[in-house]
């Protein structure tokens, strides 16, 4: 599919449509949707902004490429004056005091926010069922989950309710729902986009990224949000990715895939067959393909969840109902903290906080937490070694197709293990893109750190190859 942003931009400039009519039609579709993608609509403000774009066009003024383009925001981003719930009871009435840097950059470019999107509470989940707003239903089959944690965002894009949406990815939360709903979803290199104003889940792997229906729209939105930000010390300056730069792939000579991902007993037979067929098509184009060794899925998932739980236990310790949030008064301060947190956090969030505090405790930290940090270093070293041999690593996004709504809540271990193919790249802080091709839940394209351009380049090549 071609760039929707370019198409809509041209229609606005040529006065084939008005921005107001466009925004109103998207708002109507979002309001009527039965996939539970919406936590809150930003209708009044969106229409006000659309009217300004129309006035500019009527006056003969030029507009920027993103000006008037309607988009969605996962409900974990601060947008000043809007309710930001993280799909949780604790923050169901919390109003953002400021705006996240990534979102501010899109607003500055003139894009119009329509909706705060449903997701797993605080990003804790892989199915968007762990939410007070009802399980997000898959865009292709409403009996199945929308994926998570950015499920509402991926479904909105797949259903054309938003032109693009901004998700958040800590262990696969953009890439997996993008795969489950057959759209593009990018987790950029850690630090390429500022995390300021994104509610922290696991700060060392949290990434901001776009979900869209075309590669070109991913490129446009990535460029708009990237850059160093003094409010997030982990950000770095990056060069804009040029459209022409990703149009040729001659410098991609060798790609790799992880043998154990494909030989695993957990992989669905069809996903495996489709993945191997894709590899053959790539070989036929003259690209060398290497089968690489990697860590066992169990080790990857356990390392990721140990570190993510430790970080979320620390990050969410601030949520005690003192300064903000749904406080429940009890007889004294400690009881107030305790009752507020017990009543307002979901079972999954509590499980992760408790697990995190467990591994950070004396007696556990050495043999679990610190060892996980050591494993993470080994995983990073493994990636560095691999990228000396190959330009790109290709993987399936998930071992199997989306589960039925209700199944993941019954079996959290199965849900954790379903993240086996995404969490490793998070631990390595590598740029990884889900493309809606190759298997029924797509493919992941990964390059070395800071090489987001190569990821887009290979995706462009795949678009024409398979």
């Amino acid at each position: 599919m071609d760039s929707q942003i370019q198409t809509i931009h041209q229609q606005l400039v040529d006065k084939e449509i008005t921005c107001t009519a466009l925004v109103q039609s998207k708002l109507d579709a979002l309001k009527q949707n039965t996939n539970n993608t919406v936590n809150a609509l930003l209708g009044e403000k969106a229409l006000e902004l659309a009217a300004k774009v129309d006035a500019k066009i009527a006056n003969g003024e030029s507009i920027g490429l993103l000006e008037g383009i309607p988009f969605g925001i996962k409900d974990v981003y601060m947008v000043q004056g809007t309710i930001t719930t993280a799909s949780s009871n604790l923050l169901k009435n919390y109003k953002s005091a400021y705006t996240a840097t990534a979102i501010q950059k899109l607003l500055d470019a003139g894009a119009i926010p329509l909706v705060k999107e449903n997701c797993d509470s605080f990003g804790h989940g892989s199915s968007s069922e762990n939410t007070i707003f009802g399980a997000v239903k898959n865009a292709n089959n409403p009996d199945l989950v929308g994926g998570g944690s950015s499920g509402g965002s991926a479904v909105n894009v797949a259903k054309d309710y938003t032109v693009f949406s901004i998700g958040g990815d800590t262990g696969g939360s953009i890439r997996q729902p993008a795969g489950y709903n057959n759209v593009y979803g990018l987790k950029p290199t850690y630090g390429r986009i500022s995390r300021y104003g994104l509610m922290a889940y696991a700060s060392s792997t949290d990434c901001v990224g776009p979900i869209a229906k075309s590669l070109e729209d991913i490129r446009i939105v990535l460029n708009a949000m990237s850059g160093k930000d003094v409010k997030d010390q982990t950000t770095y300056a990056s060069a804009e990715i040029d459209k022409d730069a990703i149009s040729t792939s001659e410098d991609i000579k060798t790609i790799g895939y992880f043998k154990n991902f494909i030989e695993s007993e957990a992989i669905d037979a069809e996903v495996k067959a489709d993945f191997l067929a894709t590899i053959e098509k790539i070989k036929a184009k003259g690209i060398e393909v290497k089968a690489l060794d990697f860590f066992e899925s169990n080790t990857l998932v356990s390392t990721y969840y140990t570190l993510a739980m430790a970080e979320t236990a620390s990050n969410l310790s601030r949520l005690d109902g003192t300064n903000y949030g749904s406080r429940i008064e009890a007889e004294n301060l400690k009881e107030t903290y305790s009752v507020t947190r017990s009543e307002n956090f979901s079972e999954e969030t509590k499980r992760r906080i408790v697990g995190g505090n467990q591994v950070l405790s004396q007696g556990f930290s050495d043999e679990i937490y610190l060892k996980s940090l050591g494993l993470r270093d080994q995983i990073s070293e493994n990636f560095e070694k691999d990228f000396n041999e190959v330009d790109i690593i290709l993987s399936p996004v998930t071992p199997s197709t989306p589960p039925k709504i209700g199944d993941s809540l019954k079996d959290p271990l199965a849900m954790y293990l379903s993240d086996a193919y995404t969490v490793g790249f998070s631990l390595g802080q590598l740029p990884t893109l889900t493309v809606p091709q190759g298997t029924s839940t797509g493919l992941q394209i990964t390059a070395a750190k800071n090489n987001d351009e190569l990821v887009l380049k290979f995706a462009n090549f795949l678009k024409d190859t398979i």
């Binding site: 400021y98 998932v301 739980m309 949030g325 301060l333 408790v354 270093d377 271990l413």
Partner: protein
């Protein structure tokens, strides 16, 4: 004097118990093979100290301050009301 802090106290979550599911993940870590035991944080994921932001106070906007007050769970005359702190 040693005082054992249980996970429910550490987490401020009433009746919280370690989860069997999560313990299975921790068992994998305990049994994992770590080749270089003392090597964690080999600068793979660290922020450089050479490029830190200025250590200056930046005042919030009036709107930001107003919203912060709106978010107070309990407010009296523009002040945040908190529970009584008890001494143990």
């Amino acid at each position: 004097m040693s005082k054992i802090m249980t996970v429910d106290v550490l987490s401020s979550i009433k009746g919280a118990q370690p989860s069997e599911t999560v313990n299975k993940l921790f068992e994998v870590i305990k049994n994992a093979n770590l080749t270089n035991n003392n090597s964690f944080n080999n600068n793979h994921n660290c922020v450089s100290l050479n490029n830190l932001r200025e250590d200056v106070v930046i005042d919030s906007s009036p709107l930001e301050k107003q919203i912060i007050i709106e978010n107070f769970p309990k407010e009296k005359n523009g002040y945040l009301v908190v529970s009584k702190v008890i001494e143990e």
